[in-house]
């Protein structure tokens, strides 16, 4: 007797949702994700890498193209990233605004910028580069009348790294309020969002991302600042391990060969393409030794050698069977003595930077009463956590570290939920009815942002605002 819900009954009482057509933006070093609140995957996912084409006519000397489709070898081309590799926070604010506008304004709300078909470049066919209007987001000066208040109707929720600085926050709110005219804005920390995505208000969030791995304790929807642990053991570090393995192998393996054309792509482009290849390699070959014990323990490697390996075919057609190597590259995440020698000294990790030690340090920095609860609510998120065997190993390490405690990992089964965990959490958050009281409204910011940027006299006000921005509420369970 499944009676369909009548359209008149808005199911607010079920999950506490109250859509206000909010947008959610989650920027990371490898990817930037944007979408509508209340949905379960971001509508638009772009690499945070962008192409800068030398253009003497532009003020900055180059024009930028965004999106995977536009990053290809062409003359006078550089691949850059607007985020900071070490911090996963915005480094290049000018480009960040461009990237975000191209996502929030053009990709999410394409009807806003419908130009005349005669002018939109689709029918030119002159340079054959496809959709120009998507490409030159920076040259949106002619759309000034639209750009006045491009987001006047949509509240915007952005995520930020837990170690984000106050200055960066002010900048973000300034852009959202003044450039885009958002009626309401909010900045939420990624671990909080990831915990919400897992349906938990209190959790120990282990976020193994592309550039960084962070371990943060979240209590009642707020991060504990003293517990934040960060290390560069992430996807890029793993790639560097694979590279050094390739280099040391005989014969030496080149992920991508230099092209045999006159067009010499820049090294940044090659690095970007290499990274794409290595990502595929990581997805299909690399595995984490599941434990118990370390991979370097005697007997483990012999066991692995007897197991069937995996074949990976390089772009040049060569292929190889990988057996024990695929375990060896990932072992450095857990055991710093097992990491492969790397070219740059920055890539080296210390014992304190391995994943189990991060968790230990994080737990040691929180109140002892919270620790059992945190250990029972460990949320694993981030794309690199999708490595084969990662959760098993993490579980084994934690059981070894805290033998008497109940350790429970919560890792989403769907790859999208793992990759976009913090975006999904933000999406849940921004669509909650109880969240409306948290939004920072435009009027309050227009009063305070100039003051904030001009002088530091209003420190108290800023402080109270910072207090507010950390949020205090408990989310309803996600129900989709």
């Amino acid at each position: 007797m499944a009676q369909p819900l009548t359209t008149a009954s808005v199911p607010t009482d079920i999950y506490g949702g109250d859509e206000v057509s909010a947008l959610v933006l989650d920027a990371g070093y490898c990817q930037t994700r944007a979408g509508f609140a209340g949905e379960d995957v971001p509508k638009s996912v772009l690499p945070s890498f962008y192409g800068a084409i030398k253009d003497t006519s532009a003020a900055s000397g180059s024009r930028n193209v965004f999106g995977e489709d536009f990053i290809y070898a062409r003359p006078d081309f550089e691949v850059k990233n607007y985020m900071s590799r070490t911090e996963s926070v915005v480094e290049d604010w000018d480009t960040a605004v461009q990237v975000w506008e191209s996502m929030l304004l053009e990709r999410l709300q394409p009807e806003r910028r419908q130009t005349q078909p005669s002018k939109n470049g689709l029918n030119d066919g002159a340079d054959g580069e496809g959709d120009v209007s998507m490409e030159d987001a920076a040259t949106s000066a002619e759309n000034a009348e639209n750009a006045e208040k491009p987001l006047a109707e949509s509240p915007l929720l952005m995520t930020e790294a837990p170690w984000n600085q106050g200055k960066a926050r002010e900048k973000a709110i300034e852009i959202a309020m003044e450039n885009w005219g958002c009626p309401a804005f909010w900045l939420s920390r990624t671990p909080v969002c990831a915990a919400f995505a897992a349906g938990k208000a209190s959790a120990l969030v282990v976020d193994v991302g592309g550039a960084n791995t962070s371990v943060t304790a979240v209590h009642d929807g707020m991060i504990l600042k003293r517990s934040i642990q960060k290390s560069h053991v992430g996807g890029l570090w793993l790639s560097s391990q694979i590279r050094s393995m390739f280099d040391s192998s005989d014969p030496k393996i080149e992920p991508s060969h230099p092209p045999q054309t006159q067009l010499r792509p820049p090294s940044s482009y090659r690095a970007y393409e290499d990274e794409r290849l290595l990502t595929e390699y990581k997805e299909s070959v690399v595995e984490v030794w599941r434990g118990p014990g370390r991979y370097s323990n005697p007997g483990n490697e012999d066991l692995v050698k007897t197991q069937p390996g995996r074949i990976f075919e390089m772009p040049d057609g060569s292929n190889q069977m990988w057996r024990e190597q695929r375990f060896r590259v990932s072992e450095g995440m857990w055991d710093e003595t097992a990491q492969l020698p790397t070219a740059s000294e920055e890539e080296r990790i210390t014992k304190a930077q391995t994943v189990p030690e991060l968790i230990r340090a994080c737990l040691n920095a929180v109140d002892v009463d919270l620790r059992p609860n945190l250990l029972g609510n460990i949320v694993v998120t981030g794309g690199t956590s999708l490595l084969n065997g990662f959760n098993d190993r993490l579980n084994n390490e934690l059981m070894g570290m805290y033998p008497g405690m109940r350790v429970k990992l919560h890792a989403a089964g769907l790859t999208t939920e793992r990759r976009f965990g913090s975006w999904i959490g933000g999406s849940i958050l921004a669509s909650l009815g109880t969240f409306h009281q948290m939004w920072i409204s435009k009027r309050s910011t227009t009063r305070m942002v100039p003051a904030l940027s001009r002088n530091a006299a209003s420190k108290g006000f800023l402080k109270s605002w910072r207090l507010r921005i950390d949020g205090a509420w408990t989310p309803k369970k996600k129900s989709r």
Partner: protein, 657 residues
């Protein structure tokens, strides 16, 4: 029963028809509703509606036909009154309403009225003044944080460790984070205002920032909160909830918390082995607990089986001090005894475990009851004495209640300690009127003949015991009595042994004479040895003696046999002899018939025995050497024990015989 009923039962059509038209109508109506089925098929179901639902093929058409006009939705602005600023107006999709908007429940109205547009226009006009409030605003709850004014702070809340500024900061943080202490502690970052306002004093700038622990923060907050509670309403006027809250806050001990956390931390940092060990220990504890549980249950079962009266002596005894109380207790015990007997009988019937059923499986459970009664009697008569075993004549006392049987009421058993403290003593028969304890001793002595009296006093003198007691307490009198009885038996035995010695000598002399007459060379040495120690020889001699001068020594033998049978009993039982030697004599006399001495008057026998005893003693005095051989005067108890053992040997031999 009419034919109509039969037909109804068999579900046949009625003859007359029309008797129950209602039923027919009903079925026909139901059948008409079912379309698309052949009539025959429908008839198969009889009165019951058929379970096959005919397929209706007009799905699309019907849906299309029944479609209502599409619901209209609109972006409706709303505000959230929980916000600090009411300026933020967000918009969400809501179903368009046709009636004048009543903000609390706008969705409940139905649309589809022709005047919708007009109403909408009305609403559009009235929109600016009424923007609905978010239904989620009610979820905004805030904690109550104590408020205090400047004066209140100065009067009650001053603390050396905390400035007012920092206290304010703490209160703000508590309000901000809704009392989530881990977060408050995590974000607590108080910078002293003195740093900014350095004009006030230079020393204040130097003041270092203190690292506050979570316990510090909690302690300060609870202190402030408790004091402000006390200020608003004095402690004595608080209601229960307030008072308990106040108590909790006042009793907060940061040191205890710190210690507890240290323990918790140590517990977390255990190694694998420690964890395993603890686990195994916990397992062991659980097992032990389970075992004690089982043990307790078994014990309870046992107690139930015994129907043991409750032993909360401290509370119970006060009610039993009065005679009334004692009476009720007696009644209770009697009823308990009766019910117990019935239960135990039933229990043996229904019992399946042989071990538990074993002891009480005897019919009527007499051994158990008897045993208990005996123990009660023993403790009742034997209070105040450590050694019950060496006392005399309790066996008869113990026998009496058993002879009386079940009608002897069960008494609540007091321990000896209690009997001492409460001065409880039981008597079989009480002499009328008060008596002096001293009289009891005197009675023993005065009832004896002069010679006996003299001998007893002699022995007492030998033992350095004064004949007249200086402090005749109960215990002393009992002991004295006991001593006198023992002396008496000792003297009797002496007399007996003397008599036997005399007889042996006589027989020896006779034998020597006979041998002389027969011309056989006598062997006096062998005879001597046989007479002294050799048990076989002695018994043989005694047999001979007993058989030979049966007439002469008949009474004496009888009396000696009673004495010997009496002795072991005296050894076993407690001293029930306090009633005096007369009584003991009577008892001995009472036993005599059982020994098979018919028609012997006990009084005469006793007198005779006494005479013979005196004679024997006289003889014994004459033959002084022999007396020296035996341990005669080295102390009442020891001697009596040795005598007893020798006598019991003799009695055993006699029984063999």
């Amino acid at each position: 029963m009419t034919s109509h009923d039969v037909r109804e039962m068999l579900n046949l059509p009625t003859e007359g028809g029309g008797s129950r038209p209602a039923k027919k109508q009903k079925t026909s109506i139901a059948r008409q509703n079912l379309k698309g089925l052949a009539r025959e098929v429908q008839n198969l179901g009889g009165d019951n509606p058929i379970a096959i639902v005919p397929e209706i093929s007009s799905f699309k058409k019907r849906r299309f036909g029944s479609r209502k006009p599409a619901a209209r939705w609109e972006m409706r602005p709303f505000r959230n009154s929980a916000r600090g600023d009411e300026s933020l107006i967000l918009r969400h999709w809501r179903r368009k309403t046709d009636v004048q908007p009543t903000p609390p429940q706008p969705e409940q109205q139905q649309n589809g009225q022709p005047n919708e547009d007009k109403m909408d226009a009305d609403k559009g006009e009235s929109k600016p003044e009424e923007i609905e409030d978010s239904s989620f605003a009610k979820f905004n709850v805030k904690v109550d944080v104590p408020q205090y004014s400047e004066d209140q702070y100065n009067s009650t809340l001053v603390n050396n460790d905390w400035t007012k500024d920092e206290t304010d900061y703490l209160m703000d943080a508590v309000r901000e984070y809704d009392l989530r202490w881990p977060i408050i502690w995590d974000r607590y970052d108080y910078q002293s205002k003195d740093g900014d306002a350095s004009t006030e004093s230079n020393t204040a700038v130097v003041q270092a920032r203190k690292a506050r622990t979570l316990e510090d923060l909690k302690a300060r907050y609870y202190e402030v909160a408790a004091k402000m509670m006390g200020v608003q309403r004095p402690v004595q006027y608080m209601n229960q909830a307030e008072f308990s809250l106040h108590e909790i806050m006042v009793n907060f001990k940061p040191e205890d918390e710190t210690r507890r956390k240290k323990f918790a931390e140590a517990q977390m940092g255990r190694s694998k082995e420690e964890a395993r060990e603890e686990e195994s220990l916990l397992l062991e504890v659980r097992r032990i607990l389970a075992r004690t549980e089982k043990f307790n249950q078994e014990r309870r079962e046992l107690y139930n089986r015994l129907d043991y009266p409750t032993t909360e002596t401290t509370q119970d005894l006060s009610t039993f001090k009065t005679s009334n109380g004692l009476h009720t207790l007696l009644q209770n015990l009697m009823t308990a005894d009766k019910s117990k007997k019935r239960k135990s009988l039933m229990g043996t019937d229904g019992q399946s475990t042989p071990a538990s059923a074993g002891p009480s499986a005897q019919p009527g459970s007499t051994p158990l009851a008897e045993q208990r009664r005996e123990s009660i009697a023993a403790s009742a008569s034997g209070h105040g004495h450590g050694r019950h075993d060496s006392n005399a004549s309790t066996d008869t006392r113990a026998e009496k209640p058993t002879k009386k049987g079940a009608q002897a009421p069960e008494r609540r058993k007091l321990t000896e300690q209690e009997e001492l403290t409460y001065g409880v003593s039981t008597h079989d028969r009480l002499p009328s009127g008060p008596t002096f304890r001293y009289d009891r001793i005197n009675k023993i002595l005065t009832t004896k003949s002069n010679a006996q009296h003299a001998r007893i006093t002699n022995t007492l003198n030998e033992l350095d015991v004064p004949a007249r007691l200086t402090m005749p307490t109960k215990a002393v009198v009992d002991q004295m009595e006991h001593l006198l009885v023992n002396i008496q038996t000792l003297l009797d035995l002496k007399k007996l042994s003397d008599k036997f010695d005399a007889e042996i000598k006589l027989e020896k002399a006779k034998k020597a004479e006979k041998d002389k007459a027969a011309g056989i060379v006598p062997q006096p040495a062998a005879a001597e040895s046989a007479a002294k120690g050799g048990s076989n020889g002695e018994t043989a001699k005694e047999n001979v003696a007993a058989s030979k001068d049966g007439k002469k020594a008949g009474g004496g033998a009888a009396s000696s046999s009673t004495a010997t049978t009496e002795k072991p009993a005296a050894g076993e039982g407690t001293n029930g002899e306090k009633d005096g030697p007369n009584k003991g004599g009577e008892q001995a006399a009472a036993e005599k018939p059982a020994d098979g001495n018919p028609g012997a008057d006990d009084k005469k026998a006793a007198a005779k025995e006494a005479q013979e005893a005196t004679n024997g003693v006289k003889q014994e005095n004459n033959t002084g050497e022999e007396k020296e051989e035996r341990p005669s005067s080295s102390g009442g108890q020891k001697r009596s024990a040795s005598v007893l053992s020798s006598v019991s040997d003799k009695s055993a031999k006699r029984q063999k015989k």
